[in-house]
Symmetry: C2
Subunit: 223 residues, 2 copies
């Protein structure tokens, strides 16, 4: 009971900062996405493959969340995209306070798109609002088609889901039928994409969706 209360107060404190950030992002007309997945589902590789095109059209910045190391931020920095690394030192998710602090190191002037790559974890990041316009969940084929049903919170709260490593389909027992049945049941509005960050397959469709989001001030274009 006490633990539930503590959790509520932590989440409430997070909501307060997230509200402040959301207002800031709106004023500055910045679209924000929050990438969430298990470790190794391909968040950073998807960024490496899509940032060159995105940054040719928009002013983009990235916030990298990791428990430890700045390996991911180094990979992004190579693409000449402004990036801030948050090392959570053990914490299993990013929170709004960390984002607020990271923003101090970014030039927000004229920024169109801010991409937050969360800590690799399919559970905890789902419940912390980072003032994003859209949570984007990434699931890898190698993780198995039962994952949406087993970790429904993030699939409920996300606006888009990338099924990555689609090139591994022939070597796995992933069932596309089960996967689509479950995600449609959990979240009928979820935009789904089949991609391979390895081969590049399907990423252009995701980039188009992102462009629609930026064009609509963070709202999805559903015409």
């Amino acid at each position: 009971m006490t633990q539930v209360k503590i959790e509520k107060s932590i989440l409430q404190a997070n909501e307060d900062i997230a509200r402040e950030l959301r207002s800031k992002f709106k004023d500055e007309n910045i679209t924000v996405i929050n990438l969430i997945s298990s470790p190794g589902a391909g968040k950073t590789t998807i960024l490496e493959k899509t940032l060159p095109e995105l940054s040719s059209k928009y002013k983009v910045a990235v916030i990298e969340g990791d428990v430890l190391t700045s390996r991911d931020a180094e990979r992004i920095a190579k693409l000449q995209v402004p990036v801030v690394q948050i090392e959570t030192k053990g914490a299993c998710h990013l929170d709004a306070k960390m984002i607020k602090k990271a923003l101090e190191e970014l030039d927000l002037e004229g920024l169109d798109l801010l991409i937050i790559e969360n800590v690799g974890n399919l559970v905890c990041p789902a419940t912390f609002d980072l003032a994003e316009d859209a949570k984007v969940v990434i699931l890898s084929v190698a993780e198995g088609s039962d994952k949406p049903a087993k970790y429904p919170t993030i699939f409920t709260r996300a606006k888009a889901c990338l099924l990555n490593k689609i090139d591994l389909l022939p070597y796995s027992n992933f069932s596309l039928e089960d996967y689509y049945r479950d995600v449609k049941q959990i979240n009928p509005k979820l935009q789904t994409f089949e991609v391979s960050a390895f081969t590049g397959e399907g990423l252009e469709t995701f980039v188009e969706w992102l462009e629609g989001l930026v064009a609509n001030g963070g709202q999805e274009n559903r015409n």
Copy 2:
């Protein structure tokens, strides 16, 4: 600062129950392992493939931890192995209190080996003692060779590491060289196994290690 204090007291409460459980397991001569990995690294499949042999030699029981659903427990029950499902209802890891409660539903009389399959999460389960003799971490080739350096806590605390989905090596950019360099640096005593739950490759070596653990009352046999 307050949050750190709260975390310490939660961990302290967990330690107290874990100590009680450890004493019980010692009295009953039960070896306990705690399987930890990201979602979809292969914990349940590895159990499906090794339990038939293990349960032909020992009295084995399984505790399944999941955020939601009893899918994994149903898979284990098919093997005629006693299994208790813990649904954490959102919590990102098992704790000692949940294990204590689950034990009420198991017949501990003559039990040799208790296998706890934790919630799919490479971060939070690493810090909660479940009174196990050994944490066993499972990493899938599909997750990438940079994961031990990025999530070192579990690799530091585990006694064994299974590199699963070794059959996917030809289709991934996983570097065995980087992987072994990092795990040996993080934890020189870590027992490492290359396995494929899909093809069965390498699992017999892991079963032998487990048998050594049971034979030595939960201690590793390092002669």
